[in-house]
Symmetry: C3
């Protein structure tokens, strides 16, 4: 097993990278806008965003690890590349959905999120972490929007996009098993 | 093995749910329109549609089970979630293709349908059921359109969308092994 | 093992088919345009294009086979259907990205390409062939564009589309293991 600190660093790095690249898609496409002025930026993001995502991914991964919920599939470092890539692809896909009916964007994103959970680790534990992320992530963003920190072009869900819980669901499902996948040797 | 009646119920329920949610995407996006008036609706669908899909999925699943064609991959209940989710994602994706050239929509939908068959169960039996669905499904819809029951925005294939056989192919491929997947214990 | 000549033929045929169908999507959607006049055409392509792709896929497959780099996953003929279908789906998807910001199209295509590599064979060897294809493929197309043989609607990368290296990456990753997959018996 890798040292816990190294594992935490890799997990946080994956969260930071996916958050940064995905957010760049949202900003570039006009899906989201930062509204606070004078905040330093990295690529298209205000500096707090990728760090927030990194922290959230690390927290979800830590919860998934500590809870010792039995995984259906034991994932490895190689799988973690595919998991992170699929979540990022779903993130980028949502940047193409601006102006689409909520029915279409939610069903499409939701079905893909369910497929990602079901492929990565169709366990009750991963589902619970994913469902928690689907509630907590949008809740935090709703607060940011309410504080005039950001805005969504499609704002039908209390100021955020209706498909946002589905994206967090997919991210949470993969994050739930990410610590074990990265810590596992010889992967 | 689960009791046949329970298995039939779950299979029909999956067909009903995927049909209802996918059709909602088609109607919400203007990909399809119901033309008969005075028919009761569930969500965006006229009531007969999801029941027809449920029956068709159950029939395909029953044929796939009774034909006892050898499966290349033995699928389980967990896989069935992924299979249904991927077919629904493909269904929702077709709702984004309105106005795209038929070449693009057919190649994209066809390649993804082939990948779904190839992942779920790349057997000759599943291919046969999928090919049968790709002919029978659009044929029924062509009749419905001819009877002025519905219309497609892109109607290049005798009144229905040119990618419709590809969507039915994917649904048929998964349905072919759905009975066995649901009936299998301990999945 | 299949005879080398038969294997070469199947590999070239896959490259030809994917190149022809994918290019048809690009031309039909206006993603690319042929500019030389008087050249015979097959479907939407000038005749040299699918043969060039077939040769490139055969070359990449031959390099992948001869280099004897250890594969992480031993792929079979059945897997080759899924691999070719996913690369073709990615090809068709890029035909929908015209006019999207480069950030979105590159992140989406790149994440999916990485996922394809990571699913097909997450080995260093496949990555090396994929990376080589991601450089060599666009380089050849940049020369064709510079010679006024073709043009891209989105031409931000020296005349070609910015997501083009990602598409070649995915194609190269699958091509790297295609010879072994086709040659393997009983697949």
């Amino acid at each position: 097993m890798a040292a816990p600190l190294a594992t935490a660093g890799v997990v946080a790095g994956i969260g930071f990278t996916v958050g940064l690249a995905g957010d760049a898609c949202h900003v570039a496409s006009g899906t989201t806008r930062y509204e606070w002025s004078g905040v330093p930026e990295i690529w298209h993001s205000q500096v707090w965003f990728p760090f927030l995502v990194a922290g959230a991914v690390m927290a979800a991964a830590w919860v998934g690890e500590r809870a010792e919920l039995p995984a259906v599939r034991a994932r490895t470092r190689r799988d973690a590349v595919a998991g992170a890539a699929l979540v990022l692809a779903l993130y980028a896909l949502t940047a193409l959905l601006r102006g689409e009916p909520a029915t279409v964007s939610v069903v499409l994103t939701g079905a893909l999120a369910l497929a990602i959970w079901s492929w990565w680790d169709p366990s009750a534990g991963a589902f619970a972490v994913a469902a928690g992320a689907a509630v907590a992530g949008p809740a935090v963003e709703i607060v940011v929007v309410a504080l005039d920190g950001a805005s969504y072009a499609d704002d039908g869900l209390f100021g955020v996009a209706p498909w946002l819980p589905c994206l967090y669901f997919a991210a949470g499902a993969v994050a739930a098993g990410l610590w074990a996948a990265i810590a596992r040797d010889g992967a």
